[in-house]
């Protein structure tokens, strides 16, 4: 059973992911669509958005059924989002 603190941290986690999604969309919107480099950045930002959505959906789905999300999955998903954002910086 989830405690009030668990729900609080889940909400913060979801809000962080939503913020990441907004930032990714804004950056994607600002790219030059004809540049070869932009294509890479655009694809990576889209991937960030998609993985963040999957994480939000996972946390929300399990939260809705009263189960705790698996920490391993959440950590792995968060690591993938960070890695993709790191790749955007490198691109």
């Amino acid at each position: 059973m989830s405690t009030r603190n668990d729900w609080g941290s889940t909400k913060i986690f979801v809000l962080l992911l939503l913020a990441v999604q907004v930032v990714a969309v804004v950056f994607a919107w600002l790219l030059n669509p004809l540049g070869a480099k932009s294509e890479t950045e655009y694809a990576l930002l889209l991937a960030v958005d998609l993985v963040a959505f999957a994480l939000i959906s996972y946390v929300g789905r399990l939260g809705g059924t009263g189960k705790d999300p698996r920490g391993g999955y959440v950590l792995a998903g968060s690591a993938v989002v960070l890695f993709l954002m790191f790749l955007v910086l490198l691109a």
């Binding site: 669509p33 004809l34 070869a36 932009s38 294509e39 890479t40 655009y42 694809a43 990576l44 889209l46 991937a47 998609l50 993985v51 959505f53 999957a54 959906s57 996972y58 929300g60 789905r61 809705g64 059924t65 993938v80 993709l84 790749l87 691109a91």
Partner: protein
Amino acid sequence: MGEAGDEAHDGVVGRVARWFDARLGLSYEFLRPAPQYAINPFYWLGALAVVAFVIQAVSGTLMMLYYVPDPSQAYQSTQFIFQNVSYGTFLETVHLYTAYAMILLVFMHMMRGYFVSVQKKPRELMWVTGMLMGFVTLGLGFTGYLLPWTVVSKSATDVGAGMISALPQPLSNFLSFLVVGAGGDSAELLRFFDLHVIVLPAILLVLLVVKMYMLEAHGISEPVTGNDGSEKGRKLIPIFPNVTFYLAELATLFGAAMMLFSVLFPLVLQPAYSATAASQYTHQQPDWYFLWIYQLLKISAFESAGLPVALTAVTLIFILLLLLPFLDRGKVRRVSQRPFYVTVGLVLVAEIIVLTIWGYLTPGEVIPDEQAALVLGGTAMAVVVITLLSYRLVLGRLVGKLDTISQQGSAIRSSGVWTAAAFSFLLGLGALAMGSAANSLAGLVSTGGALGSWAYLAGASGVLAAAMGATAYLLYRVDLGTGAVRRRIRAFEVGWRE
């Protein structure tokens, strides 16, 4: 707690969701709920193939705004998409990779269904519909490959069109008219374009609706272990929101993987097709998903005169897969109790993988018969021996018989080794005899019926028949497929001592 109480505790998101639900009826159960065991990616391989199809439909529609299906402009318009359209390379790359992923997912979906026997009553027609969807998917790949009009794609398509012309009449004429047309390159490209963007997607959608209707009628197939026995496994969960969001997670992760692939391996447009470029291009071969068929056709015995035989054999494989529910009519679904079909399936998968890799490594080379017989026969032999040994060991454990086997001492254990050795020998002998027979047939054709070739053929056929007879006898003695390990091993041991 009542509805008013729920609303009082809902946040903004909850109230918005409730507003939409009241108007769109999202939580109205118009689809049957899914069992808990379906929350497993292997149950959604077909759904992911549909997701890939949707991504292709979106990216393909965008590319269609610029593409011109005419040989004089096809390459230039493709080049325009790559160079001048916003995120054009990304569009092309994602379109191609999702097509590859779709073919792979369809193959995995089919083979999973094959191994866990989803085709059993009452889902026979679901299997047939799924197989037809698989053929349409391959058709989409074949027709789409030509559209960029590069030297690689045109050469590969010419190889495929050449195969069609080797089919028996009137099938050959009909398919040639349908696919290639009678008016040269223009007619061919226009037909491929129409098939790729209108005809085949429309057929696929109709088949998808039919299959979804049947899925709704019969529900998701139970696990082979029989509803996994637990209370948790039997629990039903509503399609919305649980299953919908689970599918959304899989779909978005799949989409992210496609994005990452497109970043790591961006597509590079190959040189344009021209008669001169094609004459200098020596590596004509189809895309990877047809490579196994092409490699089969490159075997020396199947060159020229043998081509119709090989094409008939490949067609037969597809027909047998299509009609599988009417061939495998037993009620048993467990993998552990279907050694014959599981072994055949594993041999098929192994041969397809070996032929594909081999084809990739030997572009344009004709494969000698003996080499083909050794590689294909060796693969089949290895898979059969490993599978049968696994069955003897794992099946014994599954039905709790190993303790009784171990009580009977080393004689029974050694009988397993003897069985494996005998199988290995017989299959190797059969493969060699088959290669020799094919070689002697080719010799007969080339020498016009020389006596030596007839003798060679008779000898090879005799050895082949002996190997097949001995294998059949061995299979009979081992008594495959009954699942009664103890009884059959004891019978085998007694027979062996006699």
